[in-house]
């Protein structure tokens, strides 16, 4: 039995050594977007999604942002629209916005419209959110005719960190869509 141990040791080392290597080599963010015809993406954005984003921006401007200055965003990557990676950036922003669906400090209609824009963005780009199964179900919940799923409205505060974060994300999403549209229009 003693001469098997080096062999077994070699076996386990070789097998289980490779596994960490695979884990290291695995990409952090796997692509979960299906390639879609850019002309179709552009059509749907111009005729449908752009109007919803415009409505969301108007709603965002109704909230005063005096307390939103000099605030650091926890996830800075959501604000960058990387060149040649607009789809990936938009996916991140949309998935990040879905988390606000359950933030009761924010106005109910505002949250509803935010979730709609996020779900429409993911639908047009044929993407889905890998993180947070909870967020993935939001788009399914939006099919409900009633907004009761949003829950009761929380107490209103003059300054809301989450609101500031949401406003910035919405602005980034709009800018990234404009950039992507110009890119695919060429």
């Amino acid at each position: 039995f003693s001469h098997f141990i080096p062999k077994m040791d070699f076996f386990f080392r070789s097998v289980f050594g490779i596994l960490p290597l695979f884990i290291v080599l695995l990409p952090v963010n796997s692509s979960t977007c299906v390639m879609e015809n850019t002309a179709v993406i552009r059509e749907k954005y111009e005729n449908i999604l752009s109007h919803d984003i415009e409505l969301l921006e108007n709603m965002s401007e109704e909230y005063r942002d005096r307390c939103c200055r000099n605030k650091r965003h926890e996830n800075p990557s959501a604000f960058f629209c990387n060149d040649t990676q607009e789809i990936w950036s938009l996916q991140n922003m949309a998935c990040d916005m879905l988390k606000f669906f359950y933030k009761k400090k924010i106005n109910k209609d505002f949250r509803w419209q935010t979730a709609r824009v996020s779900c429409m963005t993911l639908e047009i780009l044929h993407c889905r959110c890998d993180r947070e199964q909870k967020n993935r179900k939001v788009c399914i919940l939006l099919t409900q005719p009633s907004k009761d799923i949003l829950g009761a409205q929380g107490p209103k505060k003059k300054c809301c960190q989450e609101l500031c974060e949401l406003k910035e994300t919405i602005s980034s999403l709009r800018s990234c869509w404009n950039k992507f549209e110009k890119e695919i229009a060429r």
Partner: protein, 450 residues
Amino acid sequence: VDVLHQSNKVLSLFDTPIPIAPVHTNDELENIDVECFSQLEIKEDCHSLTCNFTELDLNNTNINLTICTIIENRICSTMEKQEGTYFLYFYGILSPKDVCVVLESNRPYCRSVEVTHIVKPETPFGINITFRKDANEYFIQYTTPHSKKKYLKDKLIHELAYRQENGTWETIQSQYLRVKLLGKSLQMGASYEVKVRSKPNGDYFKGIWSEWSSSEYFQIAAEHPIKKSTDLVVVITTVGFILLFVTLVLILTFWKTRIKPVLWPKLPDHKKTLEQLCKKPKKNFDISFNPESFGYVHIHKVDGIQAKAEVECFLQPSAPLDADVSEKVCNGSDMKTRLSAVDKSILKLPVTYGGIWPSDTLSGHLCETHPSMLNESSNGIPYKVCSSNGTQLYNCGPMTHSSSSEDPTVQPRSGPLNTNTVSLIQPNNGVRSSNKDEAYVTMSSFCKNQ
């Protein structure tokens, strides 16, 4: 179908979960024709889908329609049946949907539907008709509920239909919410009916016409005041142009004969005046003051006829020439004072006979001023009359007695005689005409200079 009063049955996974059935064709259901249309933003952010079967006999059968999404999670919902139509609210319009016909225990027959291609807009409303007098047109405005919504705001075309009472409909299409009807295309005094409907313009959203709006009626004015004033303006303008044309023709016609002489009178031309005064000559009768043209005429020399003084000619040089010879006695002093008033240019003196030469024939000839003519006022106009050989022929001095050969101032001439006119030479002053045409023609210019 009044969709606003339907129940809130919406595509949902949790209410009535329907197993995902594979799409199989069914012989019985394949021939069933289902017509559907969608209405966007019919209730806030919610859209609706309405379907019905073209074959009416199926209305009584137990057949259902389900709508399913075609994304990763196939979510289906049964449409609500209402008096032969099936109705459902839904949210997503980005992806196509499957409309599945389920007949009892049979497998469903599904057909893919793009909800953005079967859009039926909401009915327009609020037709407003305004008459614009200045333009003589009827300005028609209307409204659509989609003006305040997101997707179909500027994506519709509108059709306006109008007709006279119980007449045939005429239509006008416009992408805007206003249409103009020209008053001249409408019958005066008639009553018109107007209605409007909408349809997606086809750029991205496609579909069918909406229902017609409620009709509006308006009456055309019996008379168009603008038309009357317009007619009057046209008439006045036409008459004005005609008058202008006639005036131009008259001006061009009578310019030389009547208008120009009045506006720009010619200086009197005595040659022409005399020609005009002459009677119409007989044929082959030449009238000319050019002595050379009478070369063929045998002119008889008339000797011995003394020219009588024509004092009046000296005193009134502007008076018309009198071809008749008349004897007049003038006072020498009066004559000289009056002479000073005579125009210094040229003196005309009608003298008939006695050898008086025209001024041009006397040029270069020796002429002496008669001293008696220069002894009076310095304003007197010295003059002399000379013959071709320098002999003084005539003067209008104190010795005005004519027909006297003894008059020392008068010498019978020896040469041919110009019987018509005589010209006096003014050696020192006055203007001597060098142009035959401008010079006063004397009666003595017919004879040739020998």
